[in-house]
Amino acid sequence: MRSVCFYFHIHQPFRLKRYRFFDIGNDHYYFDDFTNDDIITRLAETSYIPMCDTLLDMIRTSNGGFKCAIGLSGTAVEQMQLYVPELIDRLKALADTGCVEFLSGTYAHSLSSLESPEEFRREVYKHDEMIRNLFGKTPETFANTELIYDDDIAGEVLSMGFRNCITVGAKHIMGWKSPNYLYQAETAPDLRLLITNDKLADDVARNFNNPSWPAYPLTADKYMDWIAAFPEQEQIVNLYFPMDVFGSFLPANTGIFQFMKALPQFAAERGIRFVTPSEAVSMLKPVGMLSVPYPISDVDEARDVSAWKGNTLQNEALGKLYAVAERVSLCDDRQLKQDWEYLQSSDHFFYMSTKNMADGASHAAFSPYDSPFSAFTNYMNVLADFLVRVEEQYPDGIDNEELNSLLLTIRNQAAEITSLNKEVKSLRSSINPDDEDLPDVKPAPAKKRATKKAPAKKTASKKETP
């Protein structure tokens, strides 16, 4: 029986405000709250909420026959909590149907998988923690930032305990192979790979509203015919969409929501069913190994990571940012850690891309900046201020290892003090059993002075004990 698996992804970065170099050291707030609020509110109204309602409707009318997977980035969820909490309620309602699987991913939709394995791990744990808190379920399927994947990442993902991973059907990797099968990662054979079918996804995302497309107009009927027409052995079709395709890129008046609503009925007629990714993996057997020596992604025609790491600007910014990864993980300043999270979002680097600069391609369409150079300048100014703050935490002269051992000593000291305290207590109680409860006794106001002396005495006695 043929299965279709839909994936919808929601991500919004915390966009930076215009930050001039003379703000470095003076202004430690980096984010453009107005724009962020504006964008997520608008998208929620036109796209996310109507789409969630559509999905809910599809699940109800099909009596749970429709299933799908949803990926959320942590930064998007934080913005929802701030600006459109009603969207979270919709997502919870979807989770409650039991027909929606929530995916794992990086918290900030970052490039940490390419830059820093430790940071990658930390981000994924943080992300999954968030999903657990929101929906009470632990994600089982991993979908990296824009489906970035290579052999090294496969190992990392497996070692974090994931068995299923979604990635992209890049032509140069797949070659003659069909994406409509389950694959194994060559470096980590226990990891099952679900491969997206780009062609079918593009037919919706790009061509649904394109009258010059030969197959225009696309109907649910026709679409399911195409899926039904695949060879018998091709058991799974993975369709991956950013959720704002529905309602924003394809406005509601194109009829896209009606198209979606009609899908379950036509699927049922052709004996096609919907599954979640973990169901798909449990049902199917992998047919072969995939080896991906160089990272692939879902972005741009080249399907590689050049959208974020394609020029010297991006590489300098990324290098500077991840150079302090360890430092930031050592400190415990919450504000600093939060900024660190937000600054990692891949979008900042996407805006710096100089690909197709002259004819202003998709990079320009999403960018809040007028050129990649101003994107870079603004980001670097913010980063400069951030680095100053990191340096204020711990002096630059000490290297990370030394710092680590110092911090360890400090932490151990705390443990040592408590253990010594215990010892003091036990010793003292053995000498003078009446004294035992002294710290717990609540003294009357008149005796205040006397009790104040007590801890002082205690420290004095502590010094004697060793």
């Binding site: 170099f21 150079f373 101003s374 870079f376 670097m380």
Partner: protein, 415 residues
């Protein structure tokens, strides 16, 4: 072609552009170009165009022999051409101040009596038009429009005028009515108008009321610099150098450069600013720099000529052109070719074709200061623009511009 300047004796961008375009057109082949300038010096590059000096063209008969003419103007022009021109004198100009050859003297510069020189130039154009056959007449900038119109009336051939700048650019809007009248007259009489940028094209259409269908933009290009200049030694230095290079006049927006410099220096002391060039606002700028208390890091070089310009660029880390209104602006292209990243104002014509530069509004001092700071502080950006800039400039050639001009010629000839 009627021009006013020609390298190596140039005063502004006009000469360079005329030269580059002529050479580019010549390289497209199958074309004979006569280039008239007021006062040739004899050291102009000849191969691709026949250079005629207005000051060697007789407007009144003088009985002189070959050897005498050869002795007087032989190094500038072929004496036979002199006699040929002498046969085509069309009126008696003896009432004018003429020299021993019956020619009018020209300064070839921009003197106070410029209007008189323009008039004289168009008198001479009449003789030349009667002597040398042509298919198209091409006038560079307003100084030569009257000459072009005169030649058009004499020969009946189509006139193409090339707008390198308008008086709106030069004066920030306070146009000189006489100049405006000459410009408008030229545009109205022209069969086609070439502008150096869309910015200028809009000015021509909106301010001079010209029909858009006879105005075409042909962006300027850059003549590849010689290896000698490209390999000028770059001094090792501790401080970064940010350079403004050009006439220090209202049009070039020097005050924005000074203000932005003051902002950068508040934060970063390891930068020096250089304002190279001279002009009527120089004293005011020196005063402004002193007032902002940055004079210790802000330097004035005075007017630079020829090779000095490139030596200055070789020593610079960033080039800034904050022009308030720049029809094209060829100097950022030269800076880029020298490997110096540039910051240019969005109000300059070259911003239309360049992508590996930082563009800001000329009035946005914060943005300009930010860009300066970024270029001296973030090596990634500097390296990127340096490498990509050179690459980009190599794709902008006069041959391509020349090809477009030739296409326009074909259009007006076949009309």
């Amino acid at each position: 072609m009627f021009g006013w300047e020609f390298p190596p004796h140039i005063l502004g961008g006009l000469g360079t552009a005329s030269y580059g375009l002529t050479k580019g057109m010549h390289n497209n082949g199958d074309m004979e170009i006569t280039f008239v300038i007021p006062k040739p010096h004899g050291d102009e590059e000849k191969g691709f165009a026949n250079i005629v000096g207005a000051n060697c063209t007789p407007v009144a008969w003088r009985d002189v022999d070959y050897d005498y003419v050869n002795g007087r103007i032989g190094k500038v022009m072929d004496p036979n051409l002199y006699f040929n021109l002498r046969d085509h004198i069309y009126a008696d100009f003896n009432y004018m101040r003429l020299n021993d050859l019956g020619c009018i003297e020209f300064s070839g510069r921009y003197p106070d009596n410029i209007l008189e020189e323009i008039n004289n130039y168009s008198i001479v154009a009449g003789v030349i038009a009667r002597t040398i056959p042509c298919d198209v007449i091409h006038s560079h900038d307003w100084l030569t429009y009257p000459a072009g119109i005169h030649a058009k009336n004499v020969t009946g051939k189509p006139l193409v005028i090339h707008v390198h700048a308008t008086d709106f650019d030069r004066s920030r809007g306070n146009v000189n009515p006489t100049v405006f009248a000459i410009e408008k007259d030229g545009m109205e009489n022209a069969d086609h108008i070439i502008t150096v940028s869309n910015l200028t094209r809009r000015t021509v259409i909106e301010k001079y009321g010209i029909s858009p269908d006879k105005v075409t933009t042909v962006h300027n290009a850059v003549i590849p610099l010689s290896d000698d200049l490209l390999n000028l030694p770059r001094r090792e230095k501790d401080d970064k150098v940010i350079t403004f290079l050009g006439r220090i006049t209202m049009q070039k927006g020097p005050e924005y450069f000074v203000e932005a410099a003051a902002k950068v220096l508040q934060k970063n002391k390891h930068v020096r600013f250089v304002m190279a060039g001279s002009g009527d606002m120089m004293d005011a700028m020196i005063e402004l720099a002193a007032k902002r208390n940055i004079a210790d890091r802000f330097h004035f070089t005075g007017f630079l000529r020829g090779r000095q310009v490139y030596e200055m660029l070789a020593d610079s880390d960033v080039y800034v052109m904050p022009s308030v209104s720049e029809p094209f602006g060829i100097s950022p292209l030269e800076a880029m070719e020298m490997g110096v990243p540039s910051i240019i104002s969005k109000q300059s014509g070259c911003a239309e074709i360049l992508s590996n530069v930082i563009k800001t509004d000329y009035w946005d001092i914060d943005a300009m200061a930010d860009a300066m700071h970024a270029l001296v502080s973030y090596p990634g950006l500097h390296d990127f623009l340096k490498v990509q800039g050179v690459e980009e400039i190599h794709g902008i050639t006069w041959e391509k511009a020349g090809k477009k001009v030739i296409d326009i010629y074909r259009q007006v000839i076949n009309r």
